[in-house]
């Protein structure tokens, strides 16, 4: 039943689209229509040519430029419409291309790492069943387990740093700080977001790592603990700015109502503002987690670059490798299966972060509809 209504709805939607296109065709002069079609077709051809690595790509592209120029001069209205539409579609297209290309590159190694469980051959499973990464001496194995372990430890530590500090700073900015102070602190947080990750990594590498190695008397330098702290500081601005948006989207009337009953500012925050904005604040922390997972350069520079598990697993004073640093460190000398294995790491990163991003958007959307504010 549900599927029937769903397909009916889809049909209706498609019908509407067809109707709109038909209206557009009816309302537009034939000359403009030809130009618009020419623009669309030539751009599509150019795109196909680019995908096929053709030297002739430039011909349809030149046609596109010419058609656009002519259309802009004679039928600006329609040309603008078709141009902005193609630009919108290309955003979707880029995401689609990323998915297609990084998946395609990772297929060989997924096939290589097939494992049999209960008589069923599952491609790629062996990468998650044993913790051994060895690209040189047989048996050649590309396990993702050590890197997933590293990414997990770093992300947990980074979230423990960025979550509480970020939410507290967001409360400060949105509810507590006097206007003058906010004018200084808010750009400060933005600038913090702007400091390049390689600079963090450089300071971590030259100052923090030797210091940590000395303090905890470890052999050699590089620990998940301090990579986690540095990455947490880098994720902090994301948490602050998203959480601040969520907190300030709580309607002023709710806060004033609470204050009018005679509560202190802090009571209003803990019993009205934070609960109302809770989902938005958790979305902020989630996005911070996404940033922490994807952080590359600081981890690459500060970690040891040996893909194996730490002993014991909770030993955060040693830092081996994360998914991101594996790619950044090994792309140079890798080829064949090893390069494909790097793409597997990329696929894991991409899917994880995409799921987190969509989850955060869903939470924010629910919060907005709950508070009844406009989008």
């Amino acid at each position: 039943m549900a599927s029937a209504t769903r397909s009916e709805r889809l049909n209706a939607a498609a019908g509407q689209q067809v109707q709109r296109v038909r209206d557009f065709v009816d309302d537009t002069e034939p000359a403009a229509l030809i130009v618009v079609t020419l623009i669309a077709v030539s751009l599509l051809t150019a795109f196909v040519g680019f995908l096929a690595v053709s030297n002739l790509t430039v011909l349809p592209f030149l046609l596109f430029v010419a058609a656009t120029g002519y259309g802009w001069a004679r039928h600006q209205e329609e040309t603008a419409l078709i141009l902005t539409l193609t630009m919108t579609v290309s955003t979707l297209l880029i995401l689609g291309l990323i998915i297609v290309f990084i998946f395609r590159e990772s297929i060989p190694v997924i096939q290589y790492e097939t494992a049999t469980v209960f008589g069923v051959r599952v491609p790629g499973l062996r990468m998650f069943l044993q913790p051994n990464w060895d690209a040189v001496s047989p048996p050649i194995r590309y396990s993702m387990v050590p890197m997933i372990h590293g990414t997990l430890l770093v992300t947990v530590i980074a979230t423990a740093v960025a979550g509480p500090l970020g939410v507290a700073a967001a409360l400060f900015l949105s509810e507590i700080a006097p206007a003058v102070v906010r004018e200084f602190v808010k750009p400060g947080v933005e600038i913090l977001a702007g400091i390049p990750s390689i600079v963090y990594g450089f300071i971590g590498f030259t100052i923090l790592s030797p210091w940590a190695s000395d303090q905890f008397q470890t052999t050699g330098q590089g620990s998940y603990l301090f990579v986690g702290i540095v990455v947490g500081l880098m994720a902090l601005p994301t948490v602050v700015s998203v959480a601040e948006d969520a907190l300030s989207s709580v309607p002023e009337s709710m806060k004033s109502g609470s204050l009018a009953v005679g509560t202190t500012d802090w009571q209003t925050m803990t019993s009205i503002t934070l609960p109302a904005a809770f989902s938005g604040v958790s979305a902020a922390v989630l996005l911070g987690v996404g940033r922490a997972i994807g952080e590359t350069m600081a981890a690459t520079v500060m970690l040891r670059g040996v893909p194996r598990l730490t002993e014991p697993l909770v030993n955060v004073f040693y830092g081996q490798e994360t998914l991101t640093s594996l790619i950044a460190r090994n792309y140079g000398e890798a080829d064949g299966l090893q390069m494909d294995a790097l793409f597997v790491a990329g696929v894991i990163l991409f899917i994880t972060v995409l799921v987190i991003s969509i989850g955060a958007q869903y939470i924010e959307w629910r919060m907005r509809s709950k508070l009844g504010g406009e989008a």
């Binding site: 507290a168 913090l192 390049p196 303090q215 991409f350």
Partner: protein, 537 residues
């Protein structure tokens, strides 16, 4: 709180009690500063401060702070101090007090008494549970002071009696060897104790109750904000101080010392670090190719992403009806925004590099960064266009002009400030990115000055398709963030090229920071300017 008027209705006189509570807050601030200083080895644990051994001094101060907090709480309970406590300190305070006691109970039971993991867990639960009960059950003035005060006094006593002295060491006994040293534990414990003491003292200063909690929370929140800003300043100052000597090596000021620009005009300043490449015969080596590479990268990315992003934003806000399509684009844009930069690098490597002559090239780097910039431009432009009031559009439509004319002459100009600010901030972000260009564009560690890219002069026409070629665009080159990464990973091998490798690295970091932060400064300044203009209207 925004919108609420601040006024102090009751202006109480400062009493002796206030003074004591205030002094206690001050004492915890002193301890906090001492702990931070000891953490970064500005204060040595083995030496003395004012004639006292550092650890003993910290211990003594902790005991004093703990006793002061307890005395305040008990005094309030017995009625010597006038306060307005609630019936209980509440769950958050109870958890806050339970956690450190949990750690202490576990540590003492498993290590000091040698009861092993099970005994440690039992000890942790018993001691932590006691602290929880001691905070949650009594009236607020006792509950929020006595367990914390006891914690401070306990830690202080451990330091003062020398149980944990400067030479204390706890080998964790792990396969990959690691130990907790006094060097780390003493400052860290002092730091947390100072925070707890300050929190309890601030509550007492606010006379407990709703006002006390307000005070306690505000102290922590203000401290947090202050630390973030302080961290930013320390970070920047650190890079500047370390980088300046390297940046200024061989600097000359005077007429005619600089390189020639625009034909014959000679700059009055010579700053070899940013004006030279690397060459065998140079007196001073520099990073000019990397700077020029960064500039061209940014130009290329902006040329690609800004028209695309702004166009898509126009379609989404002005033409499209809200529905599945716009929702899909929104989800895709936000997904692109959070995609890790290294994944963009992989994508560029798999998609762009084979299409531009199968090698790393400036063009591939530009487009990869353009892909990264696109979602930022789209999101900020969309926000700017959505914030243009509908009255503007209605008024324009009422004049009988077409939709595109409305967009072009009403919506775009009104949204321009937001778009420009967003683009500048986005550019600041991508200018510092290393990971994507690592896989798509970057070449060797040192690029000779002769290989500084000259994109404009590189265009040439050819007889066969694609008719236009630009070898400069199709060559690997360097950029500042990559240069810094290459300098770090090159390690010792650097010495043969550069006389002072460390100074060279820090100077590169400084130049990168200056380039990126100047984008941010311009962006933030532009926003400030536009906002003031709007207010004056």
């Amino acid at each position: 709180m925004a919108g609420a008027t601040r006024s102090r209705l009751v202006e109480g006189e400062t009493t002796a009690t206030d003074a004591v509570a205030g002094a206690t807050v001050g004492l915890s601030a002193v301890l906090f500063v001492l702990a931070v200083a000891a953490m970064f080895e500005r204060v040595s644990l083995t030496e003395t401060i004012a004639g006292l051994p550092t650890v003993a001094l910290l211990g003594g101060l902790l005991i004093a702070l703990g006793v002061a907090v307890i005395v305040f709480g008990v005094g309030s309970r017995l009625g010597y101090v006038e306060t307005e406590p609630d019936s209980s300190a509440g769950l958050i305070a109870s958890f806050g007090a339970a956690v450190p006691w949990l750690v202490i109970g576990g540590g003492v039971a498993s290590e000091t008494l040698g009861l092993g993991v099970t005994g440690g867990a039992a000890g942790a639960v018993v001691v932590g549970g006691l602290a929880f009960v001691a905070t949650a059950v009594p009236r607020e003035d006792v509950g929020s002071t006595v367990p914390l005060g006891a914690l401070l006094a306990f830690v202080g006593a451990v330091f003062l009696t020398g149980t944990i002295g400067p030479a204390w060491l706890w080998d964790l006994g792990w396969e990959q060897q690691a130990s907790i040293t006094a060097e780390f534990l003493v400052p860290a414990a002092t730091l947390f104790c100072a925070l707890y003491g300050g929190w309890a003292a601030a509550k007492a200063y606010g006379r407990f109750g709703a006002r006390g909690r307000h005070m306690g929370a505000y102290v922590l929140v203000y401290l947090n904000a202050l630390s973030i800003i302080g961290f930013l300043f320390v970070l920047i100052a650190f890079v500047v101080v370390r980088g300046l000597p390297g940046l200024l090596t061989g600097v000359q000021v005077g007429a005619g010392v600089g390189p020639q620009v625009f034909g014959s005009f000679e700059l009055p300043v010579s700053l070899p670090f940013v004006m030279n490449g690397v060459a065998l015969l140079n007196d001073f080596q520099g990073v000019l190719p990397a700077i020029v590479g960064t500039i061209w990268l940014v130009v290329g990315a902006v040329l690609f992403a800004v028209p695309l992003g702004v166009g898509a934003a126009i379609f989404l806000t002005e033409y499209a009806e809200r529905g599945r399509f716009t929702q899909a684009v929104e989800v895709a844009t936000n997904g692109l925004w959070s995609t890790p930069s290294i994944v963009f690098g992989l994508f560029g490597f798999a998609f762009l590099v084979p299409r531009f002559g199968n090698r790393k090239s400036l063009l591939a780097g530009m487009l990869t960064l353009g892909f990264m910039l696109l979602p930022l431009v789209l999101i900020t432009s969309r926000e700017a266009m959505l914030s243009v009031p509908d009255e503007y559009r209605d008024a324009s439509a009422a004049l009988g002009v077409s939709k595109w004319q409305t967009v072009r002459s009403v919506v775009l100009p009104a949204a321009l400030p937001g778009v420009v600010t967003g683009v500048i901030l986005g550019v600041g972000r991508i200018a510092g990115e290393t990971a994507p260009i690592l896989l798509t564009m970057a070449g060797g560690t040192f690029v000779p000055g002769a290989q500084t890219v000259d994109v404009v002069g590189g265009f040439e026409f050819t007889g066969s398709p694609p008719f236009v070629a630009n070898p400069e665009l199709l060559q690997a080159t360097s950029a500042l963030p990559y240069q810094l990464y290459a300098l770090i990973s090159a390690g010792v091998g650097l010495g043969s090229n550069v006389s002072d490798p460390t100074g060279f690295r820090w100077a590169t970091a400084l130049v990168l920071l200056v380039v990126v932060l100047s984008f941010y400064a311009i962006g933030i300044g532009a926003r400030y300017y536009f906002r003031r203009q709007l207010r004056h209207e």
